[in-house]
Every structure is written in structure tokens, then in C-alpha cells.
């Protein structure tokens, strides 16, 4: 039987804070990374299967869409790592003051972009 009383609005009305934004992004990037690892595993598996297969995945990854996916994966990993460092520090019991969480959250959110761009750039230099 459905309850007669309504449930008060929650996610519809509650303000986003930097810390809650980082938290949900951590979860989303975690799911993305799960699939990203699968993709990377397939890439390596294609190397084992032979030149033709490898060429095929390679051409996909160097297409515009493929590059977009690569950059996305780099960002998602970078974000995850930064956010995880933040969590590790918190697990030690530090950085819980509202101001500190705001700053550390901003570092994770904003910092992930230049770091992923530089990882991509360095990667291009090596290859």
C-alpha cells in the first residue's frame, strides 16, 4: 500500500556543494574507469591477436572520436586519483573543516583538467 503521506523533496531542492559534486563525480568516474580498463584490456588483447587487429583498434583510437575517448579516459583517471588522495587524507582524519573541504574539492575539480592535458601532451611527445 502506498503511503498516504508524501515524501518531502530531496535531491530536487538540495543545493550542490563542492564536496557533494566531487563525491558524485568520484562515483561516475569510477564507473567510467571500469569500462575504460576493459577498453585498455581489449587494446592489449588486440596486440596479442596480431597486427591486423591491432591496426584496427589503433586506427579507431587515433580517429577524432577515439582521441576524444582517450582524453576522457585520461581525465577520468586523473580525477579519480586526485579525489582518492583527498579521501585518503580524510581517512587519516584531516581536512574536515568546511573551508578545507571546499579548497581540497576545488583543487580536485579544477586541478584534474590541466593535469590531464599535460599527461596527454607528454604522451604525444613520447609516441
Amino acid at each position: 500500500m502506498e503511503d498516504k503521506n508524501p515524501i518531502s523533496p530531496h535531491i530536487q531542492i538540495y543545493n550542490w556543494h563542492i564536496s557533494s559534486l566531487v563525491s558524485i563525480s568520484h562515483r561516475i568516474t569510477g564507473i567510467i574507469n571500469f569500462f575504460a580498463i576493459t577498453l585498455i584490456a581489449l587494446w592489449i588483447a588486440s596486440l596479442l591477436l596480431g597486427e591486423n587487429y591491432y591496426e584496427y583498434t589503433n586506427s579507431f583510437l587515433s580517429s577524432f572520436f577515439g582521441k576524444f575517448i582517450c582524453m576522457g579516459i585520461i581525465w577520468s583517471f586523473t580525477f579519480q586519483v586526485l579525489s582518492e588522495i583527498r579521501h585518503l587524507i580524510m581517512d587519516l582524519g584531516y581536512g574536515f573543516e568546511p573551508k578545507t573541504t571546499k579548497i581540497s574539492g576545488l583543487i580536485v575539480l579544477i586541478g584534474s583538467f590541466p593535469i590531464s592535458v599535460s599527461i596527454y601532451a607528454i604522451g604525444r611527445l613520447i609516441i
Binding site: 503521506n5 508524501p6 515524501i7 531542492i13 543545493n15 556543494h17 587519516l92 573543516e97 568546511p98
Partner: protein, 256 residues
């Protein structure tokens, strides 16, 4: 299962509009969540035009003004009006807080007042907190000691200082109802308010039941649903830090 959408009977509709009758130039629109249990209707948002020239500084003053001068049918909890009792906890412009300590000058634009999020609404701004109280009872919030003496149970200054930032909690439920984990797992996850109280007794040097208390709270759902979203710490009207208290419990369990 996580339910992001509100059930059909909880969908909020547009309500009545109460135009200002005082002819004041300094008008502010206040949107208030209304639900009447005696009618078979969905909740609605009523809008009141409030004369701010004759209104004191807090959000609770606005509500009192509406109740006294515009619409006496509006229902909300309030008692001390000084941030001590925790009765007037509600959601104002998307953030939980006490209406009696929140200045309306801090809020931008029209003021939106909702009950505390994700609770069974009893009437208007009154939510049902009985689950939270049951959970509070489950952590046995009282001193357990074998010492029975006529004198005081002495505590060093250092041990007493450990209770600072914990004993001030007034159980207004602003933190617990701001927590997405508590929204989705409110039946099983204890939530920040109750965990802060649990920690308050765990860390008390006079309490002899620390091990049992820790064992009881060490549960995948009861404790570890906390994902440090930190909405609780951001919401606490007393400036306490439930997230840190939970982290300390986790730390004690990890290092015990």
C-alpha cells in the same frame, strides 16, 4: 533501491498566491511547502508576499508573521527561537538549517522553505523523525559504568576536551536529512546525527562500554554508507562536524 524521483503523491504542485495587503514597498516573496493530511491532495507551494519593513531578522520571524498575519493554517515546529531546541530545522533556499538562527538577509532572491528533505511529511513543514529517534535509541546514548559512588565521576581536562564539538549537538536532524546516503538508505544507515552521538559515547573516558559500542556500529550499512559527501558538516547550524566524527569512528575501527 535509490529513488531519485518523488512518488506520484509527493509531486509538488503550484499553490495559492497571497498578495500583500499592507501596501508596503519592501516586499519579499516567500514560497512555502504545504501539505494538508485532511485533504486528498498533492503537496503544493504557496507563495506569500511579506512586508519586510515590519519583520524581524530571521526566517522564523517571517514564518511567524505569515502565521499571525496572513495564513494561520500554516504548520511548523518551533520552540526556543534561539538555536537551542532544534525544533525549527527546515530547508531554506536549498540548504538545511534552523529557521530561528538563519537570517533572511543571507538568502538571495525569493525565499523557498521546504521541510527537511526525504522525510514522511506529517503536515506542511513538519517531517516525521521517528526513524531517526529509533536509531538514536539504538546507540544507547547514556553512560555505562560500573562505578557507583557518591562523588562525581572525575574526568581529566584532556578527556573532557574530547567531547567538545560533540556534546553541543541538539539533534535537529539538519545533517542527517542533508545526507544523500541517508536519503537512499535511511532505514539502515544510521546517518550523521546518530553517528556523532555514537562517537560522543565511544570517546567518553568515563564510559566502559567502548568495545561493545564500536562493535555494534561497525557495520557495512550502519556506518560505512558514509562516503564523505560532507553535506552534513555544511548543513550543521551549530558548526559541528559529524563527518569528522564518523571518520574518527572509522579510524578507531581500522586501528583497533
Amino acid at each position: 533501491m535509490v529513488q531519485f524521483n518523488l512518488p506520484a503523491n509527493s509531486k509538488v504542485e503550484k499553490g495559492q498566491y497571497y498578495k500583500d495587503k499592507t501596501g508596503s514597498k519592501n516586499i519579499r516573496k516567500v514560497n512555502v511547502y504545504r501539505w494538508d493530511p485532511s485533504k486528498n491532495e498533492n503537496p503544493r507551494i504557496d507563495t506569500y508576499e511579506v512586508d519586510m519593513d515590519n519583520c524581524s531578522s530571521k526566517v522564523l520571524d517571517i514564518l511567524n508573521k505569515i502565521k499571525n498575519e496572513i495564513d494561520p493554517s500554516i504548520a511548523y515546529r518551533r520552540s526556543c527561537a534561539h538555536g537551542v531546541c532544534g525544533s525549527c530545522a527546515m530547508n531554506m533556499n536549498g540548504k538545511n538549517g534552523l529557521a530561528c538562527t538563519k537570517s533572511h538577509s543571507e538568502l538571495d532572491g525569493d525565499i523557498d522553505i521546504y521541510p527537511l528533505p526525504h522525510l514522511k511529511v506529517l503536515k506542511d513543514l513538519i517531517g516525521d523523525l521517528s526513524t531517526l529517534y529509533k536509531q538514536y535509541e539504538s546507540v544507547e546514548p547514556w553512560l555505562k559504568t560500573s562505578k557507583i559512588n557518591d562523588k562525581e565521576n572525575i574526568q581529566s581536562k584532556k578527556d573532557r576536551a574530547k567531547l567538545d564539538g560533540l556534546y553541543e549537538c541538539i539533534m535537529c536532524a539538519c545533517c542527517s536529512t542533508s545526507c544523500p546516503s541517508y536519503w537512499w538508505n535511511g532505514e539502515k544507515y544510521l546517518g550523521p546525527a546518530v553517528l556523532l552521538q555514537a562517537y560522543r559515547w565511544i570517546i567518553d573516558s568515563r564510559d566502559e562500554d567502548r568495545k561493545e559500542r564500536l562493535k555494534k556500529v561497525a557495520d557495512e550499512l550502519k556506518l560505512y554508507r558514509c562516503h564523505t559527501i560532507l553535506n552534513c558538516t555544511n548543513a550543521c547550524p551549530k558548526g559541528l562536524n559529524p563527518a569528522k566524527a564518523i571518520a574518527e569512528i572509522k579510524k578507531m575501527l581500522a586501528t583497533a
